[in-house]
Structures are given as C-alpha cells and as structure tokens.
C-alpha cells in the first residue's frame, strides 16, 4: 500500500521546482495570474527575498508540490491508496484527492498564507528527545500557560508554539538531560490558540468554495483519521489553530496496512525530503524492543535485562560505547516494570487510564519498551501507546470486596 505525503512550511528552498515550470507552462501561468506575481521567479530566483515569508512560502510550496504530483502521475500513472500533507501540505493532499481544482486550491492557500502572516508576536520551538507528557509537565510546572504543542512529528520530536515571550522564557527549562531545544524562525504561533482569529476568518472564506467528494482517502492533521463526509471546511479551518497530529496519523496508516497484512510505503511528493526523514525517525522510535519472558530467577533476570539494553544501544552507533551506570539503572527499572506487568497482566487485561477519563480500556499487546526508555502498552481501539505509568489495571475479583 502506498501513501503520498506532501510537505508543509520549512520544505522550501530557492530553485525549487526547477524544470517543472516549463513543463507545466499553462498551470504556471494560471498560478502567476492568481497570485499577481511570477511564481517561477519567486521559486527559482527569489530576487526580493520573499520565499521565507509565510504569505509567499505557502503558495510557492503548494504550486511546486502540485506540479511534482502531476509529474509523478505522468511518470507512474498510478494513484496512491492514501494521501496526507503536513499542515499546508494537506491542501495538496486534498488536491490530489480531487476535492477542488488547482486554481481553487491556490486561492485557498493564498488566503491562508495572508491570514497566517498577520499573526505576529508569536514563536515556535522544536524540542527533541522529550515526550508529550514531559513537555506538558515542564510547561505546567513553570506556569508557561501560553504555550501549546503545535506538531507531534514523532513521539520524541515535538514542536511547541506560543507567545514570543514565553517561547524565549521556556528555553532554560528544557536544557536538561538529553533534551534539546531550538527556537524556530517563525513570526506567528502557528497551530496554537493564538491563531484563532485567522482560523475563524479562514472558515468564512472556505464557505465560498464548493468541494467535490474525495477520490483518495485523505488523513486529516486535526483528527489523525481519514476525512469524513462534508468535513473540509471544519478540518481546514481547525487545522490552523490546532496541533498537527503527524505521529498519530502515520501510525494510523501503518496500522491500517498491517491489519490488511501489507505494509505502508510512504513517498514524499514535493521539494525536499523533510517528511521522509520524520517518518524514518518515527519508525525507528516505534520499533518495539522485545522483552524476554520472565521465567528465570530474579538474579538472572537482571543479567538478561542488561544484555537487552546493550543490544538496543548498538542500534544507535554513537551511543554504543559507554552506558553510564545511571542510564543502566533507569533502563533496568523500565525493563522490570515491563516484565512485571507482563507477568501479572496478560493481553486483554482491562485497565483505566489516569489521563484519559471515562471508558474502560483493554490491552491488545504485551507491555513493551519504546524509544529505549518508555514502558508502554497498546490498547484496543487506540493507535498510540499508553505509558505504563498512566495505566491502572482493573482487577475484577478484587473489586467485589
């Protein structure tokens, strides 16, 4: 099975779309007419240095990705099973799915870029080697209430968004352990509540357009699920002020392929290979580390645990050489958590989450270690993992007393 992925902002670079503009002269001219400037000149030479300004970046990426897609159709003459786009890229995914024409899509993107460029005093930062839970905890502990998670790219690569002031203030709190914090070069707090005005205005604009039924399923950034009927206006406006659930979306697609006993191939269409790299990282992070069944005596168990840790580390060569004592201990305790869970609670155990309230969950896998440090388990009807720390098993016979 195949998914085409379309990149968003950040994938632009000067000279993008070289050779495509001549080949698709008519569409290029149409685009320039709609935009009021030469799209080819902007992408190839960018004489006025505008390519990195949101209102220009967005139409430029949309056009280049669209032309790349048409070129790909010519070459392969086969359509993908799914399409998905990162933020702005979702407009290309919808175009590929024949939701609207090239021209209508460009008008939408032009408007979106203009609206988003009006947002100032915001900032964004990439955080690596952390997790959603940890980031939320740090934000909460330090009263950084004006920051939200904007992109869940992989479980450990997350982008936050918020007021310029707090994005600057937050940096020192993330300078610990293995966490890396990078402020990004954006003017607005994209994908956060600070974008609500833009989102509302865009919803009004969207209502002027007619949308056709989708021909290829599109995975939405907002829901991490395929688009439902008549949800274009809602999804595209909501997308501006809510987080991009990229990690969940990719996991959803992988899972889907797995259920059909196939595997999902992800192919990036457009300039650059940003998304390919993210998906590669995601796959690496999700690869479960097998945990040996706990049959031996406790002393033996420790030894096996240590061995497993070492084998894991070999996979990331730079880490292979030294494992500090502390890291070892941490890893062992995670291992112990996992094996003691598996010893007590078989697949199918009913459980409750301390984070998500309400319904009872049921495990659909054994507990595993993710990313080398997180004890996790998967639940029925949920794609993402649950941290073992947040899960409480519901033990029936104890409840009767």
């Amino acid at each position: 099975m195949k998914t085409y992925m379309f990149p968003g902002q950040g994938s632009q670079s000067r000279r993008m779309g070289e050779n495509l503009f001549e080949e698709f002269q008519e569409l290029t001219d149409k685009a320039s007419n709609i935009l009021g400037y030469s799209i080819k000149e902007l992408c190839l030479n960018d004489p006025q240095r505008q390519l990195n300004k949101t209102q220009f970046t967005q139409p430029a990426i949309y056009v280049v990705s669209a032309l790349s897609y048409y070129k790909k159709l010519e070459e392969t003459s086969e359509k993908p099973d799914f399409v998905i786009g990162h933020s702005l890229g979702e407009f290309n995914a919808l175009l590929a799915s024949e939701c609207y024409t090239f021209e209508s899509g460009l008008k939408l993107v032009k408007k979106r870029g203009e609206l988003m460029s009006q947002a100032t005093d915001g900032g964004m930062a990439a955080i690596l080697n952390s997790s959603k839970e940890e980031i939320e905890q740090i934000l909460q502990d330090n009263q950084l209430a004006e920051i939200e998670i904007a992109n869940y790219n992989t479980p450990s690569q997350i982008v936050i968004s918020g007021s310029k002031e707090e994005i600057g203030k937050a940096e020192p709190y993330f300078q610990k352990g293995e966490i890396l914090y990078y402020p990004l070069n954006t003017g607005g707090a994209f994908h956060s509540r600070f974008m609500q005005p833009a989102s509302k205005k865009f919803a009004v604009y969207l209502k002027k357009f007619k949308f056709s039924p989708l021909q290829i399923p599109v995975i939405s950034n907002v829901t991490a699920q395929p688009y439902k009927k008549n949800s274009v206006v809602k999804n595209l406006s909501k997308q501006i002020d809510s987080g991009v659930r990229w990690s969940d979306s990719i996991q959803y697609l992988m899972k889907l392929a797995e259920q059909k006993e196939s595997s999902m191939q992800f192919e990036e269409v457009g300039n650059n290979d940003v998304l390919t790299k993210i998906v590669d990282t995601l796959k690496r992070e999700l690869a479960p580390i097998p945990v040996k069944e706990q049959t031996a005596q406790p002393t033996d168990k420790k030894e096996t645990s240590q061995k497993t840790v070492r084998t894991k580390n070999v996979e990331t060569p730079s880490e292979a050489k030294e494992i500090k004592k502390k890291e070892k201990l941490d890893a062992i305790s995670v291992e112990e958590k996992v094996s003691s869970w598996n010893a007590k609670y078989p697949v199918g155990t009913k459980a409750k989450s301390k984070v998500i309230e309400g319904e009872e969950l049921e495990t659909r896998t054994e507990a595993v270690i993710l990313f080398g440090h997180r004890a996790a388990v998967y639940m029925k009807d949920y794609n993402g993992y649950f941290d073992l720390n947040e899960v409480v098993p519901v033990i029936q016979n104890q409840m009767t007393t």
Binding site: Q12, R14, R15, N52, P317
Partner: protein, 320 residues
C-alpha cells in the same frame, strides 16, 4: 553598565584533533549537542565526526587538514561550545566570524539552519577539493613591512589575513609557501605552516565563484536573531547574501581593521568560541592595553577545558 558581548568564531587553521576532548568526556550537555550534530553529519559524511575528532586515536600534534572533515568539525565544535555558553546564561550581543567562522555565525544567529550549514560546509569542501590547486598557508609573526623588504619570496604569494600589527597570514601554491617558510626560518622570523591545503582568500579561488554562489543560493537564509559582524572588512553589520559569502572565501581577512573599527564605538567583552583561543590573542594585541575591552577564550589547545571554562565564567561574573 555592562559591555556588549561578542562571540568570535575562528575558521580554518584553528582546528586540531582531540579539540575539546575533556569537555566531551565530562560536560554532559556539550556531549549531547555534539552527538546531535554528529547524527546530522554522519549520513552526509558517511563517517562519524566524533570518531574522527576523538576516537581515531589521533594526536593533537598531527595536522587535521582534511577539508571535508575539518569544515563540519569546526562548525559543530563552535556551535556546541556556543550552546553550552548560552545554556549557562552567557549570551552574545554580536557574533563575529573570522573567515569560515562566519558560517558558524550564520547558524548561531538562526539565519540558516544547522542542517543547511553543515550540508554547505561539506559541499563547499568537496567543491574546493575537487576543483582547486593544492596550496598552503603560512602565519607570520612580523610586520607586513617584510613583504616589501623581501619582494622576491613574497611575490608569488598573497596576503590572506591581517590579524594584528605583527601578525599576518599569506597563502600561495604549496611549493612557494614551503620556499617562503624555509626562507623565513633562515632569517629567524617566526612563522608557522597552517593545516590548510587550499588557497583561501586568494585568486586561486576565482574559478569557484559561480559554484559557491550557486551553492549558497540553494539555502534558506533569513536575517537571523543576533547581529552578525564580518571580519572581511571594517563594518558595522553585514547583510548575508551569496555574494558576501563568496567574498569571505575570496578576499583577505582584515581582522585588525575590523576590530579597530568596532573599538571606536565602544568597549566589548570578546569571547573566542573557537578551539584554539587564537582570536582572543589577536584581540589582546590589537587592544594593546588601551580601552576597557576584555578578551577571553573558552578553551585552548592545552587541554584542561573544564578549568578554562570555569575561568571564563568567573571572569564574566567579575565583569558583570
């Protein structure tokens, strides 16, 4: 009043094997940043920079002169050193790049991404290694007046950098530089061959102009968050264009001119965020005990990185 802090980034010639080894082994944040950089570079280079710098058992006395490795090594090293300074609340008001060090400025200021900077540093090294003649560079501790004094040995070389009054660098074809080196040795004029095998800052670079400009034009570049100064020529602030980057590689460095120009306006705290502390030494001689500027290094070639780092922090506490 606190003086503005200038982070200075040195370029080709300041690198050596094992640079910052003590930090790498003992400073966990430095190590984490280096590993992060290495994870980006390794696929581009096909080799781990950490292995090249620290693990291959090289002596720091051996010349570290393979441009394809030294370019990204200098950038990574200076970037990581900057990160740990900034994480200890030592924040620059200006960034001053010396030659290739301007690329570090670009990355630190956020004008270009770390990925793009590293990619560019490798691409340009490959370009230079493929297309240019083998050359050499010689640092000379004397007045530039000797150029006119011994025209016959200097005529086939070019002045590539003015560092301070009695220190300059010349470049030229390898054989000419070796000849000059021997000539100066005979006259007891202190000079040192630099671990640089290409004719940077000379007309030997000329054939590469279109390709260098093309390479840089392929990068997303914005104005950056921290003002950048160039040691190409006296100036207040530079706007980064491909033409400017080309000039950085093509034309001589005027470090003393740049410094004297800046010092007219105010005093500064200059911090050498390179591996050798050479720029701090240059500043020391340029200021020559006049004015109230300070010059500090983060580390130098003599090991003891942690001591050096603490010394820097203490000096800044006193200064503040």
């Amino acid at each position: 009043m606190t003086k503005p802090i200038v982070f200075m980034f040195s370029g080709q010639g300041s690198q050596y094997y094992q640079m910052g080894r003590e930090l790498f082994e003992n400073h966990s944040r430095f190590k984490i940043w280096m590993k992060h950089c290495d994870a980006i570079v390794e696929p581009m280079l096909g080799r781990s920079l950490i292995d090249i710098i620290y693990q291959d058992g090289r002596s720091k006395m051996e010349p570290f002169d393979e441009l394809r490795y030294t370019n990204p090594a200098i950038l990574c090293f200076e970037y990581c050193l900057t990160k740990i300074l900034m994480e200890s609340k030592i924040e620059p008001d200006y960034l001053l790049g010396y030659s290739f060090g301007e690329l570090t400025s670009l990355v630190v200021s956020g004008a270009i991404s770390l990925q793009d900077g590293l990619r560019f540093s490798i691409d340009i090294a490959e370009l230079i290694q493929a297309d240019s003649q083998q050359a050499g560079m010689l640092a000379i501790i004397d007045s530039t007046a000797i150029i006119d004094e011994y025209p016959h040995v200097f005529e086939s070389c070019w002045l590539t950098a003015k560092n301070f009054n009695n220190s300059f660098v010349v470049g030229g074809l390898e054989s000419d530089i070796v000849e000059l080196h021997e000539f100066l040795n005979d006259r007891k004029i202190v000079n040192q061959l630099l671990p640089v095998k290409y004719g940077f800052h000379t007309k030997l670079m000329e054939p590469l102009k279109p390709k260098i400009i093309e390479l840089f034009n392929g990068i997303n570049c914005s104005s950056g968050r921290i003002p950048m100064l160039s040691s190409l020529k006296p100036n207040k602030q530079v706007s980064i264009t491909a033409e400017h980057i080309w000039q950085v590689f093509r034309y001589p460095v005027d470090f003393s001119g740049t410094l004297n120009f800046l010092l007219q306006y105010e005093d500064y705290i200059f911090i050498d965020v390179g591996p050798s502390g050479t720029l701090a030494t240059f500043v020391k001689y340029i200021c020559n005990q006049e004015g109230d500027s300070q010059y500090l290094e983060v580390i130098n070639q003599f090991g003891r990185d942690l001591d050096s780092l603490n010394k820097l922090k203490n000096s800044l506490l006193v200064a503040a």
